[in-house]
Amino acid sequence: MCGIAGVFYKGTEPGPLGRTLVDMCQELFRRGTDSAGYAVYSPARTDAFLVRVDLEPASAQNGGPSAVLEAASAVTAVKDWQRAGHNLRLVVEGDAGGKLADQIESQVEGARVFSVGRSMEIIKDLGSANEMEGTYHVARYEGTHGIGHTRMATESRVDIAHSHPFWARPFPDIAVVHNGTITNYHKLRRALEQKGHHFATENDSEVIAVYIADRLQQGDSMEEALTASVRDLDGTFAYLIATKDGIGLARDQFAMKPLLFAEDDELVVLASEECAIRRVLRDPTLVPRELQAKEVRWWLRS
């Protein structure tokens, strides 16, 4: 069991994205407190990429932030950097053709790259959404759209690398949060690996991110990719996939995992349970709706 949540602002201006996602994930605490995480999106930068790197204690012995900066500088120009909780946040000129994450991780032991994108940043850690907020202050983040997750681990280890959201590495700006279990994970992963994709973890949810990213790269529309996923993914799932343009979702053929959404002229909010949506809805007369089995939906900024 896990909780998932999403927000999409329909206008072009960023909204109180962090506050909304954090409130929802805090409300979903019953669905798991092993870890929490967010993929937040702001208007895409044309001249830079944002990079989030987690630094394990081991990396401190291997040079810590300066070693990460040195590794990144070898392949691109680092324009700015800050510490953000236990993460390092870099603003860099390019992603070295998708090789930046591999470069940093191969040079600095214990460093893990959570995300690379012009628009997206992934912030995740162990513990509940409440505990995480004290370290990362995600609620302060203004953005255009985003997804969140609160985890009760079933299929893989409880550690930060196996926490959601999962970045569709190395595709910039694509991330997934998933509630459920993908039973044909190994088969799908092998098929994607044969196409040249690499996986950073042993988690079944990561395969959804790479699967969708692969389809979008091949020219599928979001609708086509989502519809194909309902056919190709076996198991139980309600997932939210986010790109720089917006959010898509799909639900499995048995409707085994809950997902509701509410929508008005200004925003869309999505969550596993209505209580999370109620906590952030400004209009109490809006009626959230549960997705049906095999239903797909998407909201994209054109």
Binding site: A255, E273, P284, R289
Partner: protein, 249 residues
């Protein structure tokens, strides 16, 4: 609403005349709300209006008195579960497992209900004005489920007795492996489940539908209902029909 006759300063409860009370659930935990409901019932209150339930889970479960509970808003999962006599009205939505395992009483939802509405009830009436999610009325052992809108995947699965009335459409797998009981559907059925058989409505069926829907302001004569019952082919194993058994869940 009757006048307030007693109000403790700082209390969430207001006693009204003639055994009526108002409970403001804002900021209260599930347990606090349920304990307050049970305490009021013990004190002889017969009508409780609960404000600001904000879709909390497990509200009004296991009520064993013939009281009326009115939720001004949405309830979360398992609302009115194990109900045994109460009338529970929910102005908003209800989450998964609405009225699960109800014995007696009435549960009315003005919005939509999540998956597993009216699962395994033995008696009583569940009414959902909007749509339900998947698996509505599965394993029903009696009672009546009325849905004003559509029902989701595998509704009526392994139903054993009772009646389901769906005014709108039904998703795939309707009535799969049902033993007995009757399902009426007004709209389109995406696909019937294993051994669910469509039949014509008789004049008796139409009279039953008219009576059942009248009190909810739904005109049964305007809806082209069809009846779904068990074909009873799955009651006993037959080696002569391997295909049917392969397809049954």
């Amino acid at each position: 609403m009757a006048q307030v006759v007693a109000e403790t300063p700082g209390s969430r409860e207001r006693k009204l005349s003639a055994g009526q009370s108002v409970l403001d659930a804002q900021g209260l935990t599930t347990r606090q709300i349920n304990q307050a409901i049970h305490r009021l019932i013990e004190q002889g209150v017969r009508e409780i209006e609960i404000r600001n339930p904000v879709a909390q889970h497990c509200l009004a479960v296991a009520i064993k008195a013939e009281v009326r509970l009115h939720f001004r808003g949405s309830c979360g999962w398992y609302a009115a579960g194990m109900n045994d006599g109460a009338t529970v009205v929910i102005d908003g939505n209800a989450g998964w497992g609405l009225a699960e395992c109800m014995m007696r009483g009435r549960v009315e939802v003005q919005g939509n209900a999540g998956s597993g509405a009216s699962v395994s009830i033995r008696g009583g009436l569940v009414f959902v004005r909007g749509d339900t999610g998947a698996r509505a009325g599965i394993a029903m052992k009696g009672g009546v489920l009325i849905v004003g809108g559509n029902v989701g995947y595998l509704s009526g699965f392994m139903m054993q007795r009772g009646t389901i009335i769906v005014c709108g459409d039904a998703a795939e797998g309707l009535g799969d492996s049902m033993y007995e009981g009757t399902i009426y559907v007004g709209g389109r059925v995406a696909a019937y489940g294993a051994d669910a058989v469509e039949k014509e409505c008789t004049p008796d069926d139409r009279a039953l539908l008219r009576r059942a829907l009248e009190e909810f302001g739904i005109d049964a004569s305007a809806i082209p209902f069809k009846k779904v019952e068990s074909g009873r082919k799955l009651w006993n194993f037959s080696k002569h029909e391997p295909e049917m058994w392969r397809n049954a869940l």
